[in-house]
């Protein structure tokens, strides 16, 4: 098999934009994902993608920029979920569920009205978006946002790590736990909504949870998990973009397979392999500890 098609792919402008934007948001997602793991907020991360979809559909409806809709709804919902949070994870998930249910309901209405007003394709773009149809003018803005989020994460890193692991100890040490949590949720919302806007809401869930969960199997340090997760995510996205470009020739009907399919499949199998190898070690230790 010849690898000439990779060079051919790199020469194409949409592929280049997809690679740049995709790897940047993947790195950011992995970094943020380390704390999503630590704090057990996978559900919240996923809910933000659906809420953002509602915002995006609403923005199309009133003729505003889609990104604005995604971001405003996402940030509002993230702060709302943090303030409404319950004591246990189950309770917090149920409170999150009510927010999600309402958001989905309004999303259904907005998309229906969008379709009535003959933006039928808008709804598909909001739900499944594609890296290849990315507006080139957006690429610098995405880079800027990703960089700002990484800087914000590094600024709150130490107090956030302490507040996530042991909130009581953090309070004693004078860390404003509530404010730090809200700040993290806002960064999470911006990261998730940028993923969702660039590559569809489906990819956001995979990128936030997958690489970080895989990395968390091998290390207990959040910084290492974040960096490894970010790099792993960037690598998976780059491979997915190239494969998606090549897949055009795989089947006789010449339809390229979606990037999100490859990313979802890669992250799933990376985690499954990590989980299988980790589970053995865990059980061995548990046998010693349990009476």
């Amino acid at each position: 098999m010849t690898l000439g098609w990779i060079g051919e792919a790199l020469a194409s402008a949409p592929v280049e934009h997809a690679l740049i934007a995709g790897t940047e948001i993947a790195f950011l997602s992995g970094l943020v994902g380390a704390f999503v793991m630590l704090r057990g907020q996978s559900f919240a991360g996923h809910v933000l993608t659906d809420v953002g979809t509602t915002g995006g559909a609403g923005a199309y409806l009133v003729g505003m920029n889609g990104w604005f809709g995604f971001l405003s709804f996402g940030v509002l919902a993230s702060v709302g979920m943090e303030l409404a949070g319950g004591r246990t994870r189950g309770e917090r998930d149920l409170a999150t569920g009510v927010v999600l249910s309402l958001a989905l309901g309004f999303g259904a209405l907005f998309l229906y009205l969008d379709a009535q007003l003959a933006h039928a394709n808008a709804s598909m773009a909001v739900l499944f978006g594609s890296l290849f149809t990315l507006d080139p003018a957006l690429v610098p803005w995405i880079s800027l946002t990703a960089a700002a989020c990484v800087v914000a994460m590094l600024l709150i890193w130490r107090p956030l790590a302490l507040a996530s692991v042991n909130p009581d100890l953090a309070r004693v040490r004078g860390v404003p736990v509530r404010a730090i949590s809200i700040a993290f949720m806002v960064v999470l919302a911006v990261a998730v909504e940028t993923d969702a806007l660039v590559a569809g809401s489906l990819l956001a869930t995979a990128l936030i949870v997958g690489p970080a969960a895989t990395a968390a199997r091998f290390t207990t340090s959040p910084l290492r998990a974040g960096l490894v997760g970010g790099l792993l995510g960037a690598l998976l996205v780059a491979a997915s973009v190239l494969l998606s470009y090549d897949s055009y020739t795989w089947l006789p009907q010449h339809t390229s397979w979606p990037v999100s399919f490859f990313v979802a499949a890669f992250t799933f199998f990376a985690y499954a392999i990590a989980a299988a190898t980790h589970r053995v070690a865990f059980q061995r230790r548990a046998e010693v500890e349990l009476p």
Partner: protein, 275 residues
Amino acid sequence: MNPFVMFAFPFARHAFLAASFVAVAAGWIGFYVVLRGTAFAAHALPKIGFAGASGALLFGVNSLFGVSLYSAIAALGIGALAERDRRDVATALVLALGLGTGALFLSLGNLYAADAMSLLFGQVLGVSSSGVVETACVSAAAIALVVAFHRVLLFTTVAREAALVRGASNRTADWALLASLGLATSAMMPVVGALLSFSLLVGPALAARHLAHRPWQAIVQSIALSLVITWLSLFLSFALGWPVGFFVACLSALAYAAARAISRALGRKTQAGAA
């Protein structure tokens, strides 16, 4: 406009019947979902069912079969990957993989946006008479499963250590609930749509939890609320032409908010009486 006009149409009668079966199943199973806090799985399985339905469209098989197969695989996958208390990561990744294959089916099949929309948001007015029978059977099977495991589901949640000592397995309870959710999903998909099945599963049961004090009382209240919400949503949707799911979501959230307010008011009164 008089909403009862809708009963003059056979398709509306079918929709009404199918939606009622679905509402009973959702209210009943929702009780266990709320009890065990498995909101994420209840959200993920219908969405994965959507991917199964788009696969069924691509390969030209019965969509109920596609949805059931996909939700069953997903329920097994979540159960197998989940660690002790970290089901959420497994759920998120299985969800992403399921939706990823769904996106692949949609793009390979070159399906129209309208097909995807009706799968996601439901098309209650498109239920045939054989569809009603299918919905009734699948809903009944889903309910039978949670009823059979009722004691295990309650025991392992309320008194986890005691249940472990007595030999009741939390793992078995998890599997039973996931399987039941998968079945209920297949019944709900064609009627309420993938996204809004979740509202019907969580909203009425959450409201009932704030009102009731005993398990069976909560189950009955949850079913009653779910039926009322579904019927009202159908009427409103028929009258206004907006998607059913929108009304289901709003009415569920409203029921939850009202139940919380009522329980808070009652709680304050009893506290004052005790003092």
